[in-house]
């Protein structure tokens, strides 16, 4: 019930038009990857999934943010069923101990029916061009061959709640789901990450 109410509030604030251009909202296991420019990104993307998918879809989020305070801890654990990873765990050195641990966590959290929401830029950007992707996405796909990666473009959320502000200005926004991509056999890490990044970038212009 809390989940439903939260989703309704998020939808009210964001006023999104949702477009499923490249795929349909199904229960297939997926990783939704999106551009990251606002605190609203994850909750709005999650709230616009159909309710039954919402229950199956887990956000990958930073432990240091979501374990601060009882409310956030409760939401992360009980409502969003979040996969909390150590932020230091997404370093530029992917071979790092913590990085591998985060990938392990993501693989386990997928289990046999869950999907994930992931922001491969790692941190919020200014909302213009996408930053280069962290390598976690590649390692995740390498461990789960055939996993569908759905590019998602979130538009205008950074205007509704820019970095450094607490209250949202309720402008309208748009969410575009693109065509799923998969890690190809023998595809190099950097090539795959760049292909995924371009897939999101391309949705900016998609009609």
């Amino acid at each position: 019930m809390i989940a439903g109410a939260l989703a309704a509030v998020a939808q009210l604030v964001a006023g999104s038009t949702v477009r499923w251009l490249g795929c349909a909202p199904t229960e297939d296991q997926r990783v939704y990857i999106a551009n990251h420019s606002s605190h609203l990104d994850f909750i709005v993307l999650w709230s616009y999934l159909p309710a039954r998918l919402r229950r199956l879809t887990r956000p990958v989020a930073a432990r240091d943010y979501w374990e601060r305070g009882a409310v956030r801890r409760y939401l992360a654990a009980k409502v969003f069923n979040a996969v909390l990873i150590d932020r230091a765990a997404a370093p530029s050195t992917p071979a790092g101990q913590l990085g591998l641990q985060a990938v392990d966590q993501m693989v386990q959290s997928l289990a046999d029916r869950h999907s994930l929401i992931l922001f491969p830029e790692g941190a919020r950007g200014p909302g213009e061009d996408l930053a280069p992707f962290r390598s976690g996405l590649y390692h995740l796909c390498a461990r789960r061959p055939g996993l569908e990666v759905v590019p998602v473009y979130l538009e205008n959320l950074n205007r509704i709640l820019p970095k450094g502000h607490l209250l949202p200005v309720p402008m309208l926004s748009r969410i575009t789901f693109g065509t799923p991509l998969r890690l190809q056999d023998a595809e190099a890490k950097d090539a795959f990450l760049e292909r995924a990044r371009q897939a999101i970038q391309a949705l900016k212009e998609a009609v």
Binding site: P162, V169, L172, V207
Partner: protein
């Protein structure tokens, strides 16, 4: 005075419902005759408009039933939604966030509180004087001077069009007319019927007889024939419901003419704004989202002019 006691109001609403039923039946008949799949975009557009009219009339009737506060709350909500659409389209920057928060959550509600209080001396200047200057200062204080004038003007415009101008519609409820006391909801109803009727009539006349375009670069659908036919018919419509207003027949006709002309101006100006911001953005981001701004564009021009003309000539 409300719907239950006011004979004129009952007749107006009764007439409106009969008109809507007739329009609905005619629309469905045309669609059936041509076949739903083959029905032209024009017929579908017309039926969509008629459906929207049903929704608007029901919402409006409920608001009037609730009393003056109902109408004020309804228009406050419309302003909020219109402001949301307008601001989405204009090029604000993250440094305008505070100014926008003020606009949405303080200035807009305050304007409608003043309207509800019938505080004429303040609701007519809150936005053009106080908010106008304050917002410029607030944006300047953000320290970001990139496109400063464009950003400030866009926010000021958004408030003037979506909030200030629109709030004149429920402000009619507090207008006292010489020899009539306050006019009650009939003036507001007169305005809405004529302005929306004029929109639909211009559309119909344009589709039937439209040849010469008035401003092809701004709004390709507006034609000289649609304009003349629609404005004439709306003037007639206004004169025909004179009995519900404090006006005589010819006064009501003249008022309706002013409403239709200013309403046309509002539609044209808002088309120009959409063009300026790129029609693609507008259509794609707001598609399926009601497009409140599209529905009230004529009203934003007609409401303040009708209010002040009425106040000047009939105010008591």
């Amino acid at each position: 005075m409300n719907l239950l006691h006011d004979i004129a109001l009952q007749r107006l609403f009764g007439g409106l419902i009969v008109l809507l039923i007739v329009a609905t039946i005619v629309g469905r008949l045309i669609e059936r005759r041509t076949g739903a799949e083959r029905a032209s975009a024009t017929v579908q557009n017309l039926n969509a408009r008629i459906n929207a009219w049903w929704v608007m009339s029901v919402v409006f009737a409920i608001a009037v039933l609730v009393g003056p506060i109902g109408s004020v709350v309804l228009f406050a909500l419309l302003s909020f939604l219109a402001l949301r659409e307008f601001v989405t389209l204009v090029p604000t920057r993250p440094s305008d966030h505070r100014a926008l928060l003020w606009s949405f959550f303080l200035i807009t509600p305050l304007q409608y509180v003043l309207v509800a209080l019938h505080w004429y001396g303040l609701f007519t200047i809150l936005i053009p004087v106080y908010a106008f200057l304050f917002l410029a200062l607030r944006v300047a204080l953000s320290g970001d001077t990139t496109h400063f004038l464009e950003r400030v003007s866009a926010i000021q415009w958004a408030l003037m069009i979506c909030v200030y101008s629109l709030s004149y519609a429920p402000a009619l409820l507090g207008l006292s007319i010489r020899g009539h006391g306050t006019a009650g909801p009939t003036l507001l109803l007169f305005l809405v019927i004529v302005v929306q009727g004029s929109d639909v009539l211009q559309y119909i006349f344009g589709k039937l007889f439209g040849r010469r375009k008035i401003a092809p670069l701004v709004s390709p659908s507006k034609t000289v024939e649609g304009f003349l036919g629609g404005v004439a018919a709306a003037t007639l419509l206004g004169a025909l419901i004179w009995w519900a207003t404090p006006f005589s027949v010819w006064q009501a006709g003249l008022q309706a003419l002013i409403i239709a002309l200013t309403g046309f101006g509002g539609g044209l100006v808002m088309s120009a704004v959409k063009r300026d911001r790129g029609i693609k953005d507008f259509g794609t981001i707001i598609a399926g989202h009601g497009g409140i701004l599209d529905r009230v564009d004529s009203l934003t021009f007609a409401a303040p002019i009708f209010f002040h003309v009425t106040r000047f000539f009939f105010g008591g």
